[in-house]
């Protein structure tokens, strides 16, 4: 099939970017979206022009590296699908496909479709971990965890940190990402000792990066390639209130 591509091109963080048009023929419906971009880049390189820079790594939907906004939708039109797992059978011959980077002040564009997501690293480093070294894995039943809690914790832990929630949020908020970490560890016994300190530190780090605040549009969860549930955010709100008013943390 033949596609009309409109892709955000931006040389670096200091220059202004713009959408540029490309015509790409010979696209197979079996290709993944990133393979389609590979074909475009081969064409651009053979023409002697700069290829489109885009982030990618595993191309298996598990690493969280890829991601762009396709026709206004984060990771494209498929639910719970990363951009690398989106396939060209979702498009038709002659379609116009607009590809833009994540838009967030906290995620500055580095080049074309690549944004700097180190803000997420700093939020994670503020408390998204368990400090105590736990050693080798112990017997699975040594610490009983109710099945519902284990399943919820796993739903939250599925976050791959792609940043799609920020890109989809009309406010550019990083609530779902931060909440996924907070809620995941709040559900598990290993997370309890640092529960209050964690939520205060992570929300503090999140606010410092210049993300927006949640106004409950719920676009983030719908856009999330891992389907991290929206109740993670309620859990983080509750954890934050609990840490602020009921604990001795952060006096």
């Amino acid at each position: 099939m033949k596609l009309n591509l409109k892709i955000w091109r931006q040389k670096n963080g200091q220059t202004k970017g713009a959408m540029e048009n490309y015509e790409l023929g010979g696209v197979s419906s079996d290709m993944s979206f990133l393979e389609m971009l590979d074909i475009l880049n081969e064409q651009l390189i053979s023409e002697g022009t700069d290829p489109v820079a885009f982030d990618h790594d595993c191309r298996e939907g598990v690493c969280g590296t890829c991601g762009s906004v396709v026709n206004g939708q984060v990771h494209g039109p498929d639910a719970e699908t990363t951009l690398c797992q989106l396939h060209m059978r979702r498009f038709q011959d002659g379609d116009t496909v607009q590809i833009e980077p994540w838009r967030s002040t906290a995620f500055p564009v580095l080049k074309d479709l690549i944004v700097d997501r180190s803000a997420f690293d700093r939020i994670h480093q503020a408390g998204g971990y368990v400090s105590v070294s736990t050693g080798a894995a112990q017997d699975a039943n040594a610490i009983p965890i109710p099945k519902n809690d284990a399943e919820l914790a796993f739903d939250y832990a599925e976050c791959i940190g792609c940043g799609g929630c920020v890109a989809a949020c009309p406010n550019g908020a990083a609530m779902l990402f931060t909440a996924a970490k907070v809620a995941h560890l709040a559900k598990l016994p290993q997370g309890q000792p640092e529960r209050e300190r964690r939520v205060l530190a992570m929300v503090g780090a999140m606010d410092k990066e210049g993300f927006g605040a949640c106004t409950n549009h719920f676009e983030c969860s719908a856009a999330c390639p891992k389907g991290v549930p929206i109740d993670a955010i309620a859990t983080m709100n509750r954890e934050y209130l609990r840490a602020t008013f009921l604990s001795k943390e952060g006096v």
Binding site: S104, L200, M206, A213, T215, Y240
Partner: protein, 220 residues
């Protein structure tokens, strides 16, 4: 010593919790306000409404209640302005194509706009019935009837109340989420209840300007 309070109020999560709390209290006020206003429909040439209005204005606690209510409004609005400003700053360069993943609604996206519309209405409303208190208290029913028979006033009221209904349809369910309440059993019920409440409150308040504007009220 109070740095933890400062941190709470200046954090995005704390601010939203306070917005939710003040918003829910304001909804409580709206329910009480509508209940009182419905006495306009008593069909007794305003006797019930006048008794109600005079009863309220002779309450010794009224100045404190008014101050508390004013603080709720100012707090809610100040938090909304700060949140809206920060949210706009969080995406200075927008998307060329704006689409949806199917969750955001007109109400959720227009909270600031509907809020400002309600505020404009509120200023007019306070001007009509609170700042001209002496005139109002001579005959409250007559004062309401005169004000709402004016088409311009009625239109401002209708617009403000419609905006309020849209605002509330998102607000109620959203407030519980912001306060950290999300439960698979209750959240779906609360969302529906919030929409029903928004429709009921808007319909109840809308009935008043429509009733008087269309000349059904009282003596004519």
């Amino acid at each position: 010593m109070l740095s933890w309070i400062e941190r709470f109020v200046s954090s995005s999560v704390g601010r939203k919790a306070l917005m939710a709390l003040t918003g829910l209290m304001l909804i409580g006020f709206l329910i009480a306000h509508l209940a009182g206003n419905l006495s306009l429909f008593a069909g007794d040439e305003g006797a019930a409404f006048n008794a109600y209005a005079h009863g309220i204005s002779s309450l010794p606690i009224l100045p404190i209640a008014e101050l508390a209510l004013a603080l709720l409004f100012i707090g809610h609005i100040a938090l909304a302005v700060k949140t809206t400003r920060e949210n706009r700053r969080a995406r200075l360069i927008g998307y060329q194509v704006v689409s949806t993943h199917g969750q955001k609604t007109f109400a959720s996206q227009s909270m600031f706009l509907t809020g400002v519309t309600v505020l404009i209405f509120l200023i007019k409303h306070l001007w009509d019935f609170r700042l001209q208190k002496e005139a109002f208290e001579v005959d409250p029913f007559d004062s309401v009837q005169t004000a709402l028979s004016d088409p311009l006033t009625a239109c401002v009221y209708i617009l403000g109340i419609v905006a309020l209904g849209i605002h509330l349809s998102h607000a109620f369910g959203s407030a519980f989420q912001s306060l950290g309440f999300n439960h698979p059993k209750y959240t779906p019920l609360l969302r529906v209840f919030g929409k029903v409440l928004a429709v009921l409150l808007a319909t109840g308040f809308l009935a008043l300007p429509l009733y008087f504007w269309l000349g059904q009220g009282g003596s004519n």
